[in-house]
Symmetry: C2
């Protein structure tokens, strides 16, 4: 497992270097919004989504430097969603990744614009000529990212999450659907992007989508468990918020033990679905375990 964590750290450093390059600070007053974008996106997240992009891409022989561009665009989209979700009108969070949230560090207006800026930049990064895939591949990546992050994906999931605060009759199918939209769709895109870049077969693409669906859900259950068992310091954000808000979670519906069993089962199922890949997929196998065993 220590190989995996150092591989993730390596990816994280590469992602940061690329983000730094793609978000230069202008020497004019509007630099404030660029600084806020950089503040959030360079804060040192786990970079799991970029890692998935790179790992899935290398299964099909895609060069890392080329795949990195798409990985970074996805991290921008993920970060924009965190900035907007943290806003007072949404989840109203003060801490994220161990530092004040964007609107706390800057202000609400700047945070809204910083999120908008990251989302806008992400699509431009994939579309640009120096993203070295052929235009048809770039278009396919953008079209899929737009679906995954959009009203029938991540944004729809966040809408469901906000609506769920006002109703306590969420059941398992309901919460699974919510989480698959809110979190799962970007995990799926990460894996699918690797397959698209590598011109994988339909079957290989399906396998990676299955894998992503399972680890995405396992990740969310693990998040709910950490929200109960973890501490704010190591999580870098507030914990037990859902519990205090009497919000339906996998824990409230299943109980702690059953939730852990479920996360484990999904993780093993994810590993099993990678059968058709050789040792090139070992990091993906390790990651499926890491996601349920992590402490932050």
């Amino acid at each position: 497992m220590s190989n995996l964590t150092s591989a993730i750290k390596e990816t994280s450093a590469e992602v940061r270097a690329e983000l730094d390059r793609l978000l230069p600070v202008p020497n004019t007053p509007e630099r404030r919004v660029v600084e806020a974008m950089r503040y959030s996106v360079l804060a040192g997240g786990k970079c799991l989504r970029p890692f998935l992009v790179l790992q899935c891409a290398q299964l099909f022989g895609v060069e890392k430097d080329r795949a990195l561009r798409v990985a970074v665009a996805l991290e921008m989209v993920h970060c924009y969603s965190l900035i907007h979700d943290d806003l007072p009108a949404m989840d109203n969070d003060d801490m994220r990744r161990g530092q004040p949230t964007c609107h706390k560090q800057y202000d609400e207006a700047t945070a809204i614009l910083a999120g908008d800026g990251l989302l806008t930049r992400a699509f431009g990064v994939i579309a640009a000529d120096d993203c070295l895939f052929e235009p048809a591949v770039r278009c396919q990546l953008i079209a899929e990212l737009s679906k995954a992050a959009g009203m029938n994906g991540m944004i729809g999931g966040q809408m469901l999450d906000i609506l769920a605060e006002n109703e306590d009759d969420m059941d398992m199918p309901g919460i699974i659907r919510l989480q698959q939209m809110k979190t799962g769709r970007l995990f799926s895109f990460a894996c699918e992007a690797g397959a698209i870049m590598g011109k994988a077969s339909y079957e290989e693409r399906q396998v990676l989508k299955d894998y992503a669906r399972d680890i995405g859900l396992a990740f969310q259950i693990a998040d709910d468990i950490l929200d109960v068992e973890g501490d704010a310091d190591s999580m870098g954000k507030a914990v037990r918020k859902d519990l205090d808000a009497h919000k339906a979670t996998f824990i409230s519906l299943l109980g702690l033990e059953k939730a852990k069993e479920q996360a484990d089962a999904l993780s093993y199922q994810a590993v099993a679905s990678l059968e058709c890949f050789d040792e090139k997929a070992d990091y993906l196998r390790d990651l499926a375990r890491f996601i349920v065993e992590r402490r932050s």
Copy 2:
């Protein structure tokens, strides 16, 4: 001029029909965010940006049905920016296009998500295979739209606008730069998109960019004039806000008469730059005059 207004109305109807088709309401609870997107984008704006896209595209023989897709994507981006700019943390506006702003009609969280949803959808609409331009053209459109709407364009301009509220030493170069970023860049993209779709020459593209820069600025000066001379009913939004906030505008810097002269001069300059085009550009010529003579 009456031909122009009916041509704009026709475009507006076509844009609405296409938006209706591209934003279907799902039969699930997250429909709320899609309804909010539709509420704002179908509210009946002037559709000047889509009109510019279609008019510039037809100069180069691009079929209207194909150009319409890109025109609609641009309208989505424009509407997302209005939704976010109207938020309490930004300009805090209650009325827009004669109806309550999105966050007034729904709530802030839904409005933030609705804006995000429109921006995300816009890029997907251009990238999709049923956007019938070849992939290289679609990528170029997305890359340019991302630049025009991004941190060095529209978003940077809105950041400047917010910062300007706290300082009263804005001068003419400062306000021109702000408005060219905030409003001008999307006008420019509208015209450039027509040229990109039509594979126009470098010179033709420059001419259209010059035209767009001039009418974009003229549009903004006319907006400032209407803010002083217009009434809330015909404008569909609050007026005299800038005046009450002692915010620098073209009027406060130039005075009303000089501002009118300036808008006129820009409008005639825009018409003059279209010299190389035949009568196919007549609506563009009329539009340059319409923009400074409009009453709402």
